[in-house]
Symmetry: C3
Subunit: 203 residues, 3 copies
């Protein structure tokens, strides 16, 4: 599956933000996430780029400086796809996570369908079938806005990874159009995270 | 090891029970337990057989329908063995689970022995030996009823699996006769679960 | 890496201690720790040596006797190394455990350095570098006593295993001398545990 992630954090989410021109830093995600996992409650983080390396300094009871090599990202990053979606569903993150787990039991693919007042999923695999109907109830489904019915099929594993980081209680906005890429957006604190996932086409 | 399980749930455990003649449904246990693991607090479950498939519909905030293929069980199921046991031990489920864990440290087999007022176990393996004496104290061993002393040896792994589902606080009834199959019975809510396990005979 | 452990438990930590002459018992650590893991709250433990076997009897609601074969340790056990350390650092066990986890992200080795008022670590690996400065603040570093600066490099995996059993809230005493073995000491209840670890020398 073709997928893409876009992450935005406003400057006011930083206690100090001192960048005089646009910079692109290429980082190994695996290394970065290992380092970030070492952050502790109440620590401040200073990120500095110097000499093709990024220093991440955590300051609290002690000063802890991790330094990691930057990687080449001169090749321009892909633009976000500009799809005009037919349906917009606001779904509780937990509801979507559970729904994905249900689906994983029977298949590796999931069909998402949005109609005027209902969000349904369908899965079909060797071990069985699954069909779920979620009504727009203001709670697990906050709202559904449709131009016309929209339905497309996606890889479950990718979807599972994309919803994983949604904080409990937050809502995920789903942009859906028949046989077009899916757009998933949610907030993590001040930051906004957006995923795109191309539909699965049966050959 | 040869083993067998028998499960009984009274009709009053269902909010609605509508079966006009005896039916046997063959189900893949692995699929069934995956589906059942998706049940949520406060949901109701409707099971319907149709067209050689079983639909399991969970209803709560959403309607979730799993459908799974039935498998052929026309071949008659084995009858439960009719052993006249010499000893009947009522043991706390937790006590039995812990006792099995103790035994697993030294061996893959366990000898269970019931006398008038004592339930003992013996294990012997390459890394050591274990001997435990449990008195009929009205607590971990609620009671022991013996016609005569009974002792037999069983596969620990099977025993471990059989006691796993006993809810905390419940008692397990053990039917024991020298060198005969073991019978294990306990309640899970309204349901009653019974296991049989053939003894291990050293060749 | 060459490492060594020394464990001391005073006789008053036992409710009864009846040993009329020095005895050395050789035990398989793996077996012993499996057996000890079966101890339960409120049980008493009696250890008896007989006929080249050690019986460990747990008494509580039931009597549980594990018996394990002794192994030959006639060959004299190595003496503890007698290093005159240049630096003595008292560090909170949790601080040391976290510091080791930080280091594990970038390397398999860690350089420990003690100066008059600072304890620093340095790591360097394929995925990045780490440098930490811990001041003697009376809390995470209780105190640093130095004759002169001391610095040596150690295997992280061994260090991780050595600090693992330090109870939360306890302090670990580190004896450090440039390019000499490290000495780690902490208390577990009444017992005192001491580890030695030879430095890693880059070839």
């Amino acid at each position: 599956s073709i997928s893409m992630i876009s992450f935005f954090m406003p400057t006011n989410a930083f206690s100090k933000y001192d960048v005089d021109k646009n910079v692109s830093l290429g980082l190994n995600i695996d290394n970065l996430s290992k380092i970030m996992s070492r952050a502790r409650d109440g620590e401040s983080l200073i990120m500095k780029e110097h000499d093709n390396k990024l220093t991440l300094e955590f300051s609290g009871q002690s000063k802890r400086r991790f330094r990691t090599q930057l990687i080449d990202v001169r090749k321009s990053v892909d633009k976000e796809p500009s799809v005009q979606f037919d349906a917009d569903v606001e779904i509780n993150g937990e509801t979507l996570k559970e729904l994905v787990k249900d689906a994983t039991i029977v298949s590796e693919y999931i069909s998402l369908k949005a109609t005027k007042d209902q969000f349904t999923i369908d899965c079909r695999g060797d071990s069985g079938e699954l069909n779920e109907e979620h009504l727009s109830d203001g709670n697990s489904i906050k709202k559904i806005k449709t131009e016309k019915n929209a339905e497309a099929t996606f890889n479950l594993q990718f979807l599972e990874n994309m919803v994983k980081s949604c904080p409990a209680g937050n809502y995920i906005s789903i942009g859906l159009k028949s046989n077009e890429p899916l757009k998933l957006t949610y907030k993590v604190g001040e930051a906004q995270i957006t995923y795109y996932l191309a539909p699965y086409m049966e050959s």
